[in-house]
Amino acid sequence: MDTEQTINQLTKIFTQVLERDSIELNLNTTANDIDGWDSITHMMIINEVENELNIKFKLLDLMNLENISDLVTLIHSEQKN
């Protein structure tokens, strides 16, 4: 799956979990850039990503996420497995 496709999927999940009309994500987006993306909603977003894309992350991998780019890389590596 290519990066753009994954970002589109993530955008859908973010808007849904954070209950917003629109959210713009790019590879450099961090939690500081998005209102409402905090420690509580983070886990909800991660759960939703796991459900929607039918993958399961490891907690140790999740700890090193700094931005959307890291999340996309992690998703792609899980999808390969």
Binding site: E19, G36, S39, I40, H42, M43, M44, N47, E50, K58, L59, L60, L62, M63
Partner: protein
């Protein structure tokens, strides 16, 4: 036990042990002692004797912890405030206690106009020697501000007698013992009084305290700390393991020997799953209002044959030594064991009373004849059942106080500020349980829909972030029950 004498003794006895591990850096008891001595020097040079209370910004660094101890050794107390809390709320806290001096390990530009801000950040490794201080048991050590239903937070002062009583009682119950080789988790903000136990009890036993950075997701960082540093003594709010639950399968923490929960109701099924992640740990639940100095009761989860719970919530257990508990009905009469009523606690851990709040002191504390003595009891507002063996079971609140991430939140305080801004009394704040089984705050407004950004921004200037509603719903009118009161249960069903 005298907490301050024990600390002073441990600085020498365990001088080469690690006292803290903060952001992957270790600090020995000796290094901490040197920092404490330097900050005492600042206090002596800058703060007049009559200034008994100082504000303290709750940064996660060795300077902030050293400041607490230095203030204590100088016979002074601290009021912790959150660096992320609105300036207005923090300033209210300082002004209502007539504080002039604030300590910070950073520069507090927003406060320098109205207060003297002292820096605890010193670049020196030189020990400054002081004569030991004699500190009276009635000396205040800290004041914690908690949410108040009328819109203003209220201060709970705790003195040396209170803290000595707590740690003497904990020491008496050897199940909670800490050894000098232990690695202990300190996950609480300093504005939260459980931090007193999680950083001070290890220090009173020569052990090492592992803290959490402010900018990290708590449950993930805790997982990392247990993994990397092999922590063995954990005290956590239940929400931490609720968040970690999807990953329990990856967890097998053999090093953990003690795992205690507190500050919020502990779900039975959650802790039963967690037990498998910490196969060698003894598990406890704990309970205690800030007004009775951090911890009042412990429940031993390890007697699997006789487990006590109600509505899926683990019991809060039996009182610590020295604490008397009674359950009162609405007429202030003691109920029979097994009957629900308001839990009241008495003993040397009870605070002298809220700061400058006569009205609240009258309603929250009562004198009661109990076992031949006339004792002062604190009315917790928590509905409980007492069993014949003294075990207490938590049922719920008798008012509109709830817990968010362990913090006490009065829904009335949020409603007060929302009404003020909207000039609309037809609103209600309720607590709802989200998909992740966590409590969230919802604001219901009886009005045509409008953009609530300004309202939320206003609330952010009045309230700490955990008190800002995360869900907003507009309704034609609020729902009322047959008594004409807002029916919050009906409102909850909207979500």
């Amino acid at each position: 036990m005298n907490v301050l004498k024990k600390l002073e003794y441990n600085f020498k006895k365990y001088k080469n042990n690690n006292a803290f591990c903060i952001n992957d850096i270790n600090y020995t008891y000796n290094q901490l002692f040197i920092k404490v001595s330097q900050i005492r020097d600042i206090i002596q040079k800058n703060i007049p004797d009559q200034e008994q209370i100082c504000g303290l910004f709750d940064y996660n660094d060795i300077e902030t912890y050293a400041t607490i101890i230095a203030l204590w050794f100088e016979g002074k107390s601290y009021i912790p405030v959150s660096v992320s809390s609105p300036i207005e709320r923090n300033s209210y806290i300082f002004e209502s206690t007539s504080i002039n001096f604030l300590f910070s390990s950073h520069s507090e530009e927003n406060y320098i106009e109205n207060f003297s801000v002292l820096s605890s950040n010193i670049n020196s490794n030189e020990l400054i020697k002081f004569k030991p201080y004699i500190i009276d048991e009635s000396n205040l050590l800290y004041t914690i501000f908690t949410s108040g239903s009328t819109g203003l937070p209220k201060g709970v002062p705790i003195d040396l007698k209170n803290l000595n009583s707590l740690f003497s009682a904990m020491k008496f119950d050897e199940r909670h013992d800490i050894y000098p080789t232990d690695k202990c988790l300190q996950m609480f903000d300093l504005t939260f009084d459980y931090s007193i136990v999680t950083f001070l009890y290890p220090l009173l036993n020569g052990a090492c305290v592992y803290t959490l950075p402010k900018d990290q997701i708590k449950y993930m960082y805790i997982y990392k700390l247990i993994n990397i540093y092999q922590l063995n003594y954990l005290i956590m709010v239940p929400s931490i393991i609720n968040y970690l639950k999807p990953y329990f399968g990856e967890m097998n923490f053999k090093t953990v020997r003690y795992s205690c929960f507190g500050a919020a109701p502990l779900p039975l099924n959650l802790v039963e799953e967690w037990k498998k992640c910490v196969p060698n740990a003894k598990i406890y639940n704990s309970y205690g209002p800030t007004e009775n100095t951090v911890t009042s009761t412990y429940y031993d989860f390890n007697d699997y044959q006789n487990q006590i719970s109600k509505n899926g919530i683990v019991a809060i257990g039996k009182p610590l030594k020295g604490i008397k508990t009674i359950i009162l009905d609405t007429n202030n009469k003691i109920v029979k064991n097994g009957v629900e009523g308001e839990l009241c606690v008495s003993g040397n851990q009870v605070t002298v009373g809220y700061l400058n709040n006569t009205k609240k002191n009258k309603s929250s504390f009562i004198m009661y004849d109990y076992e031949g003595f006339n004792l002062k009891f604190y009315k917790t507002g928590d509905l409980c059942i007492k069993k014949d063996d003294e075990t207490l079971i938590f049922i719920g609140r008798k008012d509109f106080q709830i817990k968010i991430g362990g913090y006490r939140v009065e829904l009335g305080e949020i409603e007060h500020h929302s009404k003020n801004f909207l000039k609309n009394n037809n609103i209600s704040v309720i607590d709802i349980i989200n998909k992740n089984n966590e409590t969230e705050l919802a604001l219901i407004i009886a009005n045509e829909e409008f953009d609530t950004k300004k309202l939320i921004n206003y609330l952010k200037t009045k309230l700490p972030s955990y008190m800002i509603p995360t869900k907003i719903k507009f309704v034609k009118e609020l729902l009322y029950n047959s008594n004409g009161k807002i029916d919050n249960n009906k409102l909850k069903s909207l979500f």
